[in-house]
């Protein structure tokens, strides 16, 4: 059984069909890429999985659970974490605090215990910090641990956002354009991290990415979208050479 399944999913914004009868399967352990020109509906697919949007028709399920029966804040408890195309961090908080919010789904104490800072709370906080510290080591975020997000460079924020998602120890990680706006060197790091996220941590990755160089290096499977509908899917090479895909990119004048 696939880890994530979309079946004939359609979403409309007024008259605009942002996602059109889309079906896809992401297998456990895969790195899966969604590609397509601007406005193809890639981020909208992520927002459907996060339950920010409800499709007009179709089914979305994760490891056998019907996602459409859940509220957005219940999705992470299944083990789905994500980043946003336009970086959505907690700007007034530090890097450490941001990563600790990633641990939210693993909390085990109640409000009263927390008010009194009982030993259970202390023990839990230690465990959270240990988990977060692993992520900090993994992503080389040590120099920024106690910096507020608001003063950090773009590239670092991008990494912090990946870190926050990893801190929740997900089964499925959704990355919306992880390399956009990054320098060549930063993109290279991102590539190794995505490889390690899959190999060492055993996390399945679904990502949206415009950089076909990166996609062909890290992804097993690619699905190309245009105007909300699937154009082609397969290995990166197959999709890149697919006539419909070439047509779509040339047609919009968008060089991939």
């Amino acid at each position: 059984m696939s880890l994530l399944t979309l079946e004939n999913v359609t979403l409309k914004f007024g008259g605009l069909t942002a996602v059109n009868n889309l079906s896809m399967q992401v297998e456990e352990g895969q790195v899966f890429a969604l590609v397509g020109p601007n406005g193809a509906g890639k981020s909208t697919v992520f927002n459907l999985i996060s339950r920010f949007y409800t499709p007009v028709s179709g089914k979305i399920s994760f490891a056998g659970t019907d996602l459409l029966g859940l509220a957005p804040d219940e999705v992470p408890s299944l083990g789905i974490a994500r980043t946003f195309q336009n970086i959505e961090l907690f700007d007034q908080a530090t890097v450490l605090e941001n990563l600790l919010v990633g641990r939210h789904r693993h909390r085990g104490t109640n409000l009263v215990q927390q008010m009194f800072h009982t030993p259970a709370v202390r023990a839990e906080e230690r465990a959270h910090r240990e988990a977060v510290e692993e992520v900090i080591d993994f992503l080389d975020l040590q120099p920024y641990r106690n910096s507020r997000i608001a003063g950090l460079p773009y590239g670092v924020r991008k990494v912090v956002e990946v870190g926050r998602a990893l801190a929740s120890k997900p089964r499925l990680l959704l990355l919306d354009e992880p390399a956009s706006g990054l320098s060549v060197e930063e993109t290279q790091n991102m590539r190794w991290w995505i490889d390690d996220i899959r190999r060492q941590m055993g996390i399945t990755v679904l990502m949206v990415e415009h950089d076909m160089g990166l996609v062909s290096k890290v992804c097993d499977k690619v699905l190309a979208l245009a105007d909300g509908a699937m154009l082609a899917q397969g290995t990166p090479a197959e999709v890149q050479s697919h006539p419909a895909v070439i047509e779509a990119y040339l047609g919009t004048g968008d060089a991939a």
């Binding site: 992470p76 007034q92 908080a93």
Partner: protein, 360 residues
């Protein structure tokens, strides 16, 4: 500059980051405890007043500074805290039980009010809560049999473990009572900030969308923040009414809500210190003003002068120092700690309040 070498996770979790901070706050506490011996009864009364305002301010700070929700309705919770304490005492409940119970009642009512109110954002939330404050004024008048209406109510004598707490015969006892309350509230506040709930508050404040994506339930988190905030402010309101000894609907008008909001903005939104600094400003402003007006030889009281001047101060802060007095202090301190490496944009402020729909 002090450099922290953190060697265990507890270094981050502890209340005070190092021995230096701990001794600083211990010294401050010792000073607070010794205060009745250092100043006369008049100024001790003023100090008590500062602590009461600080308690109210901490309540609103939790909601506005920590969770990013505006409220102009907190005078309603001050009234509720005050009337319920006094009514419970009149029903024979000893003060030591009536007071925390009133806080809990106010917190629950606050949480219930939050459920519909928090569907609103920003300015709309401010207007809705302002309506609540105005309504409370009328409600106090209408519920005359219980509240005494316009005629008001006299605070019953307070006894704690057989000791009478009276501001005239025993001002030190009153001061210590207010000190204990504000210390307990501050401790709870700090404990929340270093726990998942406090981080959920900050998450909701800075980005609702990613708070949800991390599993934070918005409605629940906001309701808890509103309830806790109302409860704490209710405790402050109870102290304020009891300290004034007589109170009626005019004691808790919506002006009080506005003053409270101004106070935390001037003190520094999002900082515990901000509530205390704001309380000092709001308590001593009337005196500073009367000294100034006496100085220029005017002995006519100018109506609304106080709140007007306070309003101007707040506008100046919003324009030039949005992080408030405490933020200013942080900048000065960082400048000297890092000298000469401090960068101007280190405290750059990003618009973080009132962000809502930003999916694309």
């Amino acid at each position: 500059m002090r450099i922290h070498f953190k060697t265990s996770y507890d270094d981050d979790i502890r209340l005070f980051e190092d021995g230096w901070k701990l001794s600083l706050y211990a010294a401050l506490l010792a000073l607070m405890v010794a205060l009745p011996w250092l100043i006369d009864d008049f100024y001790l009364g003023e100090a008590t007043n500062v602590l009461i305002w600080a308690t109210c301010g901490l309540g609103l700070m939790l909601l506005t500074g920590q969770t990013g929700q505006a409220s102009l309705g907190h005078s309603a919770f001050m009234a509720l805290g005050c009337y319920s304490t006094v009514l419970l005492m009149e029903a024979g409940v000893p003060f030591i039980v009536a007071f925390p119970l009133a806080g809990i009642i106010t917190g629950i009512v606050g949480g219930l009010i939050a459920i519909p109110a928090l569907k609103l954002h920003g300015v709309y939330l401010a207007i809705a809560t302002l309506a609540l404050a105005i309504l409370t004024d009328d409600l106090i008048v209408m519920l005359e049999p219980w509240t005494g209406g316009v005629g008001g109510k006299f605070a019953p004598p307070i006894t704690v473990f057989g000791l009478e707490v009276n501001r005239w015969s025993n001002p030190a006892a009153w001061y210590y009572m207010a000190l204990i309350v504000v210390l307990v509230v501050t401790l709870f506040y700090r404990n929340l900030l270093r726990a998942p709930m406090g981080r959920a508050f900050a998450a909701v404040r800075d980005s609702e969308i990613s708070a949800q994506a991390m599993g934070v339930n918005l409605a629940r988190t906001k309701t808890i923040a509103f309830g806790m905030s109302a409860g704490i402010t209710g405790l402050g309101g109870a102290l304020m009414g009891l300290f004034a000894e007589v109170f009626n609907n005019e004691t808790f008008t919506f002006i009080l809500s506005i003053q409270l909001l101004m106070m935390i903005v001037v003190g520094g939104l999002g900082f515990i210190h901000g509530a205390f600094l704001g309380a000092i400003v709001i308590s001593f402003l009337p005196q500073a003003l009367s000294i100034i007006t006496d100085g220029i030889g005017s002995n006519v009281a100018i109506p609304g002068l106080e709140i007007g001047v306070f309003g101007v101060i707040m506008i100046l802060f919003i324009l030039f120092e949005p992080m408030g007095l405490y933020g200013r202090w942080l900048k000065i301190r960082t400048f000297f700690q890092l000298f000469p490496f401090a960068r101007k944009d280190m405290f750059r402020r990003q618009k973080s309040y009132l962000k809502t729909e930003r999916l694309r």
